[in-house]
């Protein structure tokens, strides 16, 4: 539940759910996120412009012409958390991954003293929960990896990673939606398009709160999907 409500600047409110990062706390964040998103699309609250969930916080941005911080805070306080639903909005995805496109498996294997195939197996057997999407469009932050695979970021981030590169850091796994620099340990690549500039109704495939399981594919299958 919300531990603290406060303003951030004059057109934002932070709903702080506490310091921990776990799926239970994040599920509460996402429940509130879905509720606000629906209230806004129903037109029952005016002036809210954005609602951004992260691990343990929901930030609400609003149009100060129409509403202010204390009105937003009153609105959040009036929400009956016990009635918020979650499961109906949640999607379960299976995302293909080709581990032949790894860049760091050798390094991970040496650092953690785990066989490459075991690393892949742990990754394939994890059902990932999407804590949040962002930083850049369509970019998911997913967890939780087995603690056996915990790693730091690369000391020197790579200047260029291809779209679909799958990386791990600590208990998290991410997918780079388009070509960008990045400092995560790359274990494979997916041909799935996470951010589609041509799809106006749903440009981003994944949403906070969805779950992801990876499915291993060969290079040949990767190329086939890529060319579709």
């Amino acid at each position: 539940m919300i531990k603290k409500l406060s303003n951030i600047g004059d057109c934002g409110v932070v709903c702080d759910f506490g310091d921990e990062v776990n799926q239970k706390i994040n599920t509460d964040v996402i429940k509130l996120f879905h509720f606000i998103k629906e209230e806004v699309s129903r037109g029952s609250v005016k002036g809210i412009l954005n609602y951004t969930p992260s691990y343990n916080k929901l930030i609400i941005n609003f149009d100060l012409k129409k509403i202010n911080s204390s009105q937003i805070i009153d609105f959040i306080k009036s929400v009956n958390f016990s009635k918020l639903n979650f499961s109906q909005n949640k999607k379960e995805w299976t995302i293909p991954i080709c581990y032949d496109f790894e860049m760091d498996l050798e390094y991970i294997s040496k650092t953690l003293k785990i066989d490459k195939n075991e690393i892949i197996n742990i990754h394939l057997n994890t059902t990932f929960f999407i804590y949040m999407v962002g930083f850049i469009p369509g970019h998911p932050f997913m967890g939780d990896l087995d603690s056996k695979l915990f790693l730091e970021r690369l000391k020197t981030p790579r200047v260029k990673l291809p779209s679909g590169a799958v990386g791990i850091v600590e208990k998290f796994c991410n997918i780079y939606p388009y070509e960008s620099p990045g400092g995560w340990n790359i274990i494979g690549r997916t041909p799935t398009i996470l951010f589609d500039r041509k799809n106006e109704s749903q440009p981003c495939l994944l949403s906070p709160g969805d779950t992801v399981k990876f499915k291993s594919i060969s290079k040949k299958e990767f190329e086939k999907i890529n060319n579709e």
């Binding site: 406060s6 303003n7 951030i8 954005n50 949040m132 930083f135 850049i136 469009p137 951010f195 106006e200």
Partner: protein
């Protein structure tokens, strides 16, 4: 097709289409974007009789050179901009900001430079003919979102406008802005992370705007801000004007095209009423942060809006 258009003879260095911004998308990682200086944007649309959320051309420092190839129209440039209208017969008119001009086929607009400021705006009567993406025509160049395939305007691009206009009347208004070096802020969520001395320095010492400044952020240089707690926090949603302090102790102000989530502690947040003044400051200028209360910030925003309404109400026809 009977389209009216300009051709871009010189694109300028950072010319994009912008409007009010793109909302309800931040949870997907898409920042709102939109015009950096919304005040100049609203005044631009008002001076050519457009609705307030019509798309415009935004430029920075050196603007574009445009030739009206087909059609007639009325345009306005706002901000603090040096420009010329070059008539078809080569007659040159030194342009005045916040005043509309009629253009005929063959005329050119040469936007030479913004003066002691960064951003300027060109609005065309009736609006530009642009394909919106998620209800906005703002270009988010970093993610290649928006019209023109999400890219900055290039040489030889066509700028198509919606309708011909042969009205001969023109309009003007007086735009006043107090140029001041004080930027007012509210304390950020991690204000208490910083040492007492650093908190005091933040509000009493000048910070210089560096060259590492663009639509996404403004890097400052000045007294080091010491963090006593942690220079990394759990990533959280970003708001426009958030002032974050990474491990090196030099603040970065997140601007209109901000990354949607970030993991650096935030010492303060620029108030909405001063944001348009901040973004118009050029590298090398120094600013001083002043702490205000939330209610004061809200009141100042009302005054900012009233000020814009007054300028729009005072639009007069030129005789």
């Amino acid at each position: 097709m009977n389209k009216n258009f300009f051709v871009v003879l010189r694109a300028g260095i950072n010319t994009t289409y912008q409007d009010n911004g793109r909302f309800h998308m931040q949870h997907f990682g898409i920042a709102p974007g939109g015009c950096m200086d919304l005040k100049s944007y609203f005044i631009a649309n008002a001076l050519v009789g457009n609705n307030s959320e019509e798309g415009v051309l935004e430029f920075a420092y050196q603007g574009p050179l445009l030739k009206l190839v087909k059609g007639e129209t009325r345009i306005v440039i706002t901000g603090n901009v040096i420009f010329q209208i070059i008539k078809k017969n080569n007659e040159k008119i030194n342009g005045e900001c916040n005043r509309s001009y009629n253009l005929n086929e063959g005329d050119q607009i040469d936007i030479l430079a913004t003066k002691e400021s960064v951003y300027g705006y060109l609005a065309v009567e009736g609006g530009l003919d642009l394909k919106p993406f998620c209800k906005s025509v703002s270009i988010l160049a970093r993610a290649q979102i928006g019209p023109n395939e999400g890219k900055k305007i290039k040489d030889n691009d066509k700028i198509i406008f919606k309708r011909n206009s042969n009205k001969k009347k023109n309009f003007i208004t007086k735009v006043v802005d107090k140029t001041k070096d004080i930027i007012r802020v509210l304390p950020g969520p991690q204000f208490s992370f910083f040492s007492k001395e650093s908190q005091d320095n933040f509000f009493t010492k000048y910070y210089k705007i560096t060259n590492l400044t663009d639509r996404m952020g403004m890097r400052l240089e000045g007294s080091i801000i010491n963090n006593l707690v942690s220079s990394n926090i759990r990533s959280e949603g970003i708001t426009k004007g958030a002032i974050q302090v990474p491990a090196d102790g030099q603040p970065i102000i997140l601007l209109t095209d901000y990354p949607t989530i970030g993991g650096y502690p935030k010492i303060a947040n620029v108030i909405s009423a001063d944001y348009h003044l901040l973004v118009q400051k050029i590298p090398g200028e120094k600013i001083l942060f002043k702490n205000v209360e939330l209610q004061e910030a809200e009141q100042l925003y009302k005054e900012y809006l009233n000020n814009i309404s007054k300028m729009i109400k005072n639009i007069k026809e030129i005789n």
